[in-house]
């Protein structure tokens, strides 16, 4: 079996409204149209696995990998229940989930596969797969977003994904399910008048998209903390950390911004990144680089495992 590899990546929105009610807002309609373009690109590729990291699936016990081969249920959005339910029948690559778990553990992470009938697949992942892989032409994998993990741990999770992909022989497209700015309107708005919550968020989103459009994924990864602080980024932008680490931490990509629209005030973008030989300039790498996770810091707490021994 030849070595597997990441053949590309997409940043996709974390909200289901463009799927539930595209007609309600020009922005959501535009996203629905752009999803179709991304879907066509995926269908034209030779990918044989879609691997998602979703900020809408929060975990506490390390990192969870979805391993139910055929999840079959429905999800109702916690806020937008009046827009209806999303019924899903998905196809998961259970063998890959198990391999990813092993690779994560080999790098010091706590990881486990989950496969339970009725498990609530998160609304971000369901929306993404319905738009990009509606017939389950490709199997998928989903990994959770640990609420306590910071950059180091998330990079290791991304590198473990790269390990698993290499060993699996799969040709993989990564999907980072995440908003950019994640400030929402806290009241009911007229969907047609949706806009980015603040000018500042909008400006930061556009800066990030400018860099991604130039293929500068590693630069965006290095900027994530500042972006998160300034523009209320979604989950510290962990999806970007994960993608950047899984793809080798560099700027050798061809980037394409398919769309950027507001969804209830948040910044929702569809961006594609294809590996290319040519690096874009302007590199400024100064964050830590971590290969193995040595555990929760537990500065004030005794190590639970030691206590347990």
């Amino acid at each position: 079996m030849s070595e597997g590899k990441v053949i590309g990546a997409y940043l996709v929105p974390n909200q289901a409204l463009p799927v539930l009610a595209p007609e309600a807002s020009p922005g959501w309609q535009s996203l629905a149209h752009s999803y179709a373009q991304v879907r066509a690109e995926i269908e034209a590729s030779d990918a044989d696995l879609l691997l998602l990291f979703s900020t809408r699936w929060v975990s506490i016990i390390g990192h969870q990998m979805q391993a139910d081969p055929a999840p079959d249920y429905w999800v109702v959005d916690e806020d937008f229940h009046q827009f209806g339910s999303l019924h899903y029948q998905l196809k998961m690559d259970a063998e890959f989930a198990s391999l990813y778990q092993d690779c994560a553990r080999a790098r010091g992470l706590t990881a486990r596969t989950v496969a339970y009938p009725g498990f609530p697949i998160d609304v971000g992942s369901v929306a993404t797969l319905q738009m990009l892989n509606p017939e389950n032409r490709l199997p998928a994998g989903i990994v959770s977003c640990n609420m306590y993990s910071d950059r180091a741990e998330t990079l290791v999770l991304g590198k473990a994904a790269a390990d698993a992909i290499r060993q699996s022989g799969r040709k993989v497209l990564l999907l980072g399910v995440s908003a950019l700015s994640n400030r929402m309107f806290g009241h009911w708005i007229e969907p047609a008048s949706d806009r980015i919550h603040s000018l500042k968020d909008d400006e930061w989103n556009r800066k990030i998209l400018e860099l991604l459009g130039e293929g500068r994924l590693e630069d965006v990864s290095q900027l994530a903390r500042e972006f998160h602080r300034q523009a209320n980024g979604d989950s510290k932008l962990k999806a970007i950390w994960w993608m950047a680490a899984a793809m080798g931490q560099h700027n050798h990509y061809r980037g394409r911004v398919f769309d950027y629209q507001p969804v209830w005030g948040t910044g929702a973008a569809l961006v594609g990144l294809q590996p290319t030989a040519k690096a874009e300039g302007g590199l400024e790498y100064d964050e830590d680089e971590v290969d193995v996770f040595v555990g929760d810091r537990n500065v004030l707490a005794p190590q639970p495992s030691k206590n347990h021994e």
Binding site: S59, V76, S85, T110, P120, F185, L300, A301, P304, H308
Partner: protein, 301 residues
Amino acid sequence: MEKGRIITGCLAPHPPHLAYASNPQQNEPKASGAGAWQPLLDAYARLRQSLAAHDYDVLVVHTPHWKTRVGHHFLGVPHFEGLSVDPIFPNLFRFHYQLDVDVELAEAICRQAQAEGLVTTMMRNPEFRVDYGTITSSHLVRPQWDLPIVAISSARTYFDYSDEVGEREMLALGRATQHAIEATGRKALLLASASLSHRHFTEEPEDPEDPSFEHIYNPNQAQWDQHVMELMRQGQTRRLLEEMPDFIAQSVSECRDGSLTWLLGALGQAEIPATIHGYGTVIGTGNAVVEWDLAAQEVGA
């Protein structure tokens, strides 16, 4: 119609571990009985015993695990049944539930809260899955499931604006809850479904119920929890509310989801001593089962 009233208010934490350890027939996974959370199971037993002396006809639950960013939502369908699988601890909680909702009371609180200036919404989608916080707290307090409930979501005001704004909203929501209960003639039991300190360990032992693993995440959390419980015991409600933003920030408290402040608001910020039925840790978080017995207070007065 007789004027309604709140019979008792409880802090009723919802770690799914406690439902799991009770081995109810509705839950698919079965616990070993190794005893890691026995102090909390005993605390809930004492609470149930105490509540047996009271007559009430509805449970009103504020839950941190229905997280809404567009205001405060209320279950608005008369009956739900289904399977609740905890996305975080699916190994422990896969609970088959059937429950009735007191929609009339939910609508009354929803209207009253709107009149207080809050953004409110009735949840009318019958396919909605009821969250595990609501189910766990309700089950541990009244496993018979013979009374209707009202479930209120946790608006993200603390997170999207600030802890102070969140606190003010929750006090207003509490007032609205109290007024709606009075206006609808209900005798209500209120449940704030929340832990105190709330930093978790991010790994789990082979047997999740292994008592040699279980302890508080760090001494800072333990001290804050003890302090907060002392304020409750002494009936220093206003001081507790004054210190709430510090408590939230310094102990990573789940009170940031608003449940406890909602409860104290609904109790009219009454300075009455609470009964601490017990305290224990669950995967590092601090949990107390606490009762503010308004009915006993009235008898004593």
